[in-house]
C-alpha cells in the first residue's frame, strides 16, 4: 500500500498522538485539561491546537498549499509565540510529527517499499518546519509592532492637539480655518 493511503487511513490516530505530544509540552495539570475539555471557548488553546494540526496534516498528505499551511500554522504558532516557550520549543512540534508517524504506522511501514515516500514525507515536514520558523518570527515582529503602536496611540491625540494649536486642522490635515 502506498504511504499516502496509509497516512490518510490513520489520520485520526496520527493526529491524536500528535496532539498528545504537543500538550505534553505544558505542565501536567494543564495538559490533562487541554485534552479533556472539549468546549472550544472553555479551552481555546486546546481547540486551536487540534484545529491547526488537522489542517497542517491534511496539507502534508495532499497539496502542500503554502497559503493554507501558513493559515493553519498561524493558529498554533501565534499562541506559542507568546507563551513561555523559547523559539525552538515553540516550533518543535512540527518535527515531532516524524516520530509520531513512525509510532502510529509501526510495522506497516516497509523501509524498502516506502523509502522514497518516507523521504518525501520527511522533506515535507521539514518544509512545514521552515514555514513555522517564518510564522514564529512574524508573530514576534507583530508583538513588537503592537507594543510600539500602543505607545504611539497613548499620545496621538495629544500631538494632534499640539498641531491644532499650530494651525493644522485635525480633520483636513491643512491649516485651521479660524473664521477670519
Amino acid at each position: 500500500m502506498v504511504l499516502t493511503v496509509l497516512l490518510i487511513e490513520k489520520r485520526e490516530a496520527v493526529l491524536g498522538r500528535w496532539f498528545d505530544s504537543i500538550i505534553k509540552t505544558y505542565p501536567p495539570g494543564t495538559s490533562e485539561f487541554l485534552a479533556k475539555q472539549k468546549d472550544r471557548f472553555r479551552n481555546p488553546v486546546g481547540h486551536a491546537i487540534a484545529e491547526s494540526i488537522g489542517s497542517i496534516y491534511d496539507e502534508i498528505v495532499s497539496e502542500m498549499d503554502t497559503g493554507e499551511l501558513r493559515r493553519a500554522l498561524d493558529g498554533i504558532i501565534r499562541i506559542r509565540s507568546v507563551q513561555d516557550f523559547t523559539a525552538s520549543e515553540a516550533v518543535a512540534f512540527v518535527f515531532q510529527l516524524k516520530t509520531v508517524v513512525r509510532e502510529v504506522l509501526g510495522n506497516r511501514i516497509d523501509e524498502h517499499e516506502h523509502s522514497h515516500e518516507l523521504a518525501d514525507l520527511e522533506s515535507r515536514i521539514d518544509q512545514v518546519a521552515l514555514l513555522a520558523f517564518d510564522k514564529y518570527m512574524e508573530c514576534r515582529d507583530k508583538l513588537h509592532e503592537v507594543r510600539t503602536n500602543e505607545i504611539r496611540r497613548r499620545s496621538e491625540i495629544l500631538f494632534e492637539k499640539v498641531n491644532v494649536g499650530c494651525g493644522v486642522s485635525r480633520h483636513e490635515g491643512g491649516p485651521v480655518d479660524d473664521g477670519s
Binding site: D84, E89, R153, I157, K161
Partner: protein
C-alpha cells in the same frame, strides 16, 4: 563544530516535556514580557508609603527591610482580624477545582499556578503554617509553607497575573471572591515597599491632580475645549461643555482616557453630543477628572483616598447627583465600596432623570448613575432621535467589562443601546459574555507595555470568542464600556484578530444621534457614512 552540540542519536531523544515541579517550589523566572516594573520610589514617597526604593524584580536582592517577615505576618494578622471575608476565604476552600479552568490567564498561559485555587494557595499555605493550629503543629503535612523571600517573589509574580476580574468567583460554590485574596496579597506586598509602577504612579498623579495622568486643571479644560471644537467640525454644532460649574444639576465623571486616548475619545464626543441634544444641565470637574481608581489595585486605604474626590467635588459644586461614564473598575469601587467607604452621600438627591422623570432607585445610596442606564432610559422613553444606518459600516459585538457585568450587574442596558443604534449587532458565545465574560487580560494595573506577552496570553480567551464572531458574522467592531478595555483590547485585537477595531458604546450613540441643525457627512472618526442615502433621506 562545537563539542557542545548534541550527537545525532541524542537529538532523537529530546524530551519535550517540562520538568516535573512540586507546586510548593516557589522558584520564579522573571522573563521579559511577562512581568511589570517595580514602583518609582519618588511616587511611593509621594503617597507616604513605606520602604520606597529602587526595585527591579529580575535582581536577586530585592533590598527588603530586615524585619520584612515580621511586617508581612503582622500585616496578615491585622487583615485577618479586620476582614472576616479574608479569614473565611483562607479557611473555607475545599479545593473542588470549580474555579481551576475559569481564569483567562490559566487558559491562555497554561501555567497551573494561574488556576485561581492554586494562586490563592500560594497565600493560603503561609496562612496555614503561621495562623492555623494544624499548620503550626504539622507544617508541610498540613499544607503549610514557610514565608521566604522566594515566596514573596512568587506572590509578586502571580498576584500581578490576576486582573481581579472575579470570573472564577462566579463558579465557586462557596462564593470565594478571589479578587479579594489578590487584593490582600498586594496590600501585604506594599507593606514592604513592593508594588508596580503602573499602579503607584497613576495613584500618585490622581492624588495630586485628580486623574491618573497628572493632567492639571487648565490641561483638562483645554482637552474639553479641543473636543468641543472637534465636535463642531464634525457636526456643525458647537456644544457647551461646562467645567467646574457651580449649581449644575449633575456632575459628570469620566475616566481620563476618554478625553485624550484613542478610541475612548470618540465615546467622549458621543457623550457631549448627547448631553447637548437633550439640554442636560451638567458639569465636569477638574479635580474629579478621573473615574478610574487605581487605588483599588493597591489597597483599601488608597482606594478610599482617591475615591473621596468624587463626593468632595459633588459637594463643592453643589450638584444634585452624579452620572459616571464608560469606566470599568470605577463601577466596582462605586457599587461595592463607595457608599460605606466615603458615604453616606446624604447631601445629594436621589437621582431622577430631568428628561424622562425616571427615578434611578438602584442609585438611591450612592447617588451615582451609569451613563448606559441614563441613555437606555432616554431611548426607552423616545427622547432622542436615532438613525442606526449611520453605523452600518460597523458590524458590532459587545464585550462585557468584568466590573460592570460581575460587580454591578449592568448587562442589558448597553445591549439595548447597541440594538437601537446599530443595525448589525451579534453576540459572542454565551459562555464568554455577561456574568461569564472573559477579561481583557490587562485590568487591575497590568496593562503595561513591558507586560505585553502576559497580556496577550491572558486576553486570548476573549480574542478567541471575538475571532469566532468575526469569522461567522463579519464583526469588525468590538464595543465596550471600560477605559482599560478600550486601551488594551485594541492591541489585543491587533495581535489576535487584526480585522476588528475597538469602540465605545457612546461612540455608536454619537454616530446615530440625529442632532437638530447638524451638518454631518462622517461618523465621529471622520469616516464617511457607508450609504449616501442616509444623508439624502434626512
Amino acid at each position: 563544530m562545537s563539542d557542545d552540540l548534541a550527537k545525532k542519536e541524542e537529538l532523537a531523544k529530546i524530551d519535550f516535556k517540562p520538568p516535573k515541579k512540586d507546586w510548593t517550589d516557589p522558584t520564579i523566572e522573571f522573563r521579559k514580557g511577562s512581568f511589570n516594573y517595580g514602583s518609582n520610589p519618588k511616587n511611593v514617597e509621594y503617597l507616604d508609603l513605606p520602604y520606597a526604593r529602587e526595585f527591579d524584580p529580575r535582581k536577586e536582592d530585592w533590598n527588603l527591610p530586615d524585619n520584612w517577615k515580621e511586617i508581612i505576618l503582622e500585616g496578615m494578622r491585622d487583615r485577618l482580624m479586620k476582614y472576616r471575608s479574608f479569614r473565611v476565604f483562607m479557611d473555607i476552600c475545599v479545593r473542588c477545582g470549580a474555579c481551576a479552568d475559569k481564569c483567562h490567564f490559566f487558559l491562555g498561559s497554561g501555567d497551573p499556578k494561574n488556576m485561581p485555587v492554586l494562586r490563592a494557595e500560594l497565600l493560603r499555605s503561609v496562612y496555614r503554617r503561621d495562623f492555623s493550629t494544624a499548620g503550626k503543629i504539622l507544617g508541610k503535612l498540613a499544607g503549610g509553607r514557610e514565608l521566604t523571600p522566594q515566596v514573596l517573589k512568587e506572590w509578586f509574580y502571580y498576584f500581578y497575573q490576576c486582573t481581579e476580574c472575579r470570573r472564577c468567583s462566579v463558579f465557586c460554590p462557596y462564593c470565594i471572591d478571589t479578587a479579594e485574596i489578590t487584593m490582600m496579597a498586594r496590600e501585604l506586598l506594599h507593606l514592604v515597599g513592593i508594588g508596580i509602577d503602573w499602579i503607584t504612579t497613576p495613584a500618585a498623579n490622581c492624588f495630586r491632580t485628580g486623574n491618573h495622568l497628572g493632567i492639571q486643571p487648565h490641561g483638562f479644560k483645554d482637552s474639553v475645549d479641543f473636543a468641543v471644537d472637534d465636535l463642531a467640525d464634525l457636526t456643525g454644532i458647537r456644544v457647551e461643555a461646562p467645567v467646574n460649574k457651580k449649581g449644575a444639576e449633575i456632575l459628570f465623571v469620566v475616566p481620563s482616557a476618554d478625553y485624550f486616548a484613542d478610541p475612548h475619545y470618540y465615546g467622549f464626543l458621543g457623550y457631549m453630543a448627547l448631553f447637548h441634544e437633550i439640554g442636560l444641565d451638567y458639569t465636569f470637574s477638574t479635580y474629579a477628572s478621573e473615574g478610574g481608581n487605581f487605588g483599588l489595585f493597591h489597597s483599601s486605604e488608597m482606594m478610599k483616598r482617591l475615591n473621596a474626590k468624587i463626593y468632595a467635588e459633588a459637594r463643592r459644586l453643589g450638584v444634585k447627583w452624579i452620572i459616571g461614564g464608560e469606566c470599568g473598575h470605577m463601577w466596582r469601587v462605586l457599587h461595592q465600596y463607595m457608599d460605606t467607604m466615603n458615604g453616606p452621600a446624604d447631601f445629594l438627591e436621589e437621582p431622577i432623570s430631568p428628561i424622562t422623570g425616571t427615578k434611578f432607585e438602584n442609585a438611591k445610596c450612592t447617588k451615582m448613575v451609569h451613563i448606559c442606564e441614563f441613555t437606555a432610559d432616554l431611548i426607552h422613553n423616545n427622547k432622542i432621535k436615532l438613525d442606526p444606518r449611520r453605523n452600518d459600516h460597523w458590524t458590532v459585538t459587545f464585550h462585557d467589562s468584568c466590573n460592570t457585568s460581575r460587580a454591578m450587574g449592568l448587562i442589558e442596558e448597553p445591549r439595548y443601546i447597541l440594538r437601537q443604534t446599530c443595525n448589525k449587532f451579534h453576540e459572542m458565545p454565551e459562555n464568554t459574555i455577561k456574568e461569564q465574560t472573559f477579561c481583557c487580560g490587562s485590568g487591575s494595573g497590568l496593562g503595561t507595555d513591558e507586560n505585553l506577552e502576559m497580556r496577550m496570553r491572558g486576553g486570548f480567551p476573549r480574542a478567541s470568542a471575538v475571532k469566532y464572531v468575526h469569522d461567522k458574522h463579519g464583526v469588525n467592531l468590538l464595543t465596550c464600556i471600560c477605559a482599560i478595555d478600550k486601551a488594551t483590547l485594541t492591541p489585543l485585537m491587533e495581535y489576535w484578530v487584526p480585522e476588528v477595531q475597538v469602540g465605545a458604546v457612546h461612540e455608536m450613540v454619537g454616530n446615530a444621534l440625529v442632532m437638530e441643525g447638524e451638518t454631518r457627512t462622517t461618523d465621529l472618526r471622520s469616516q464617511p457614512y457607508e450609504r449616501e442615502e442616509v444623508e439624502r433621506d434626512d
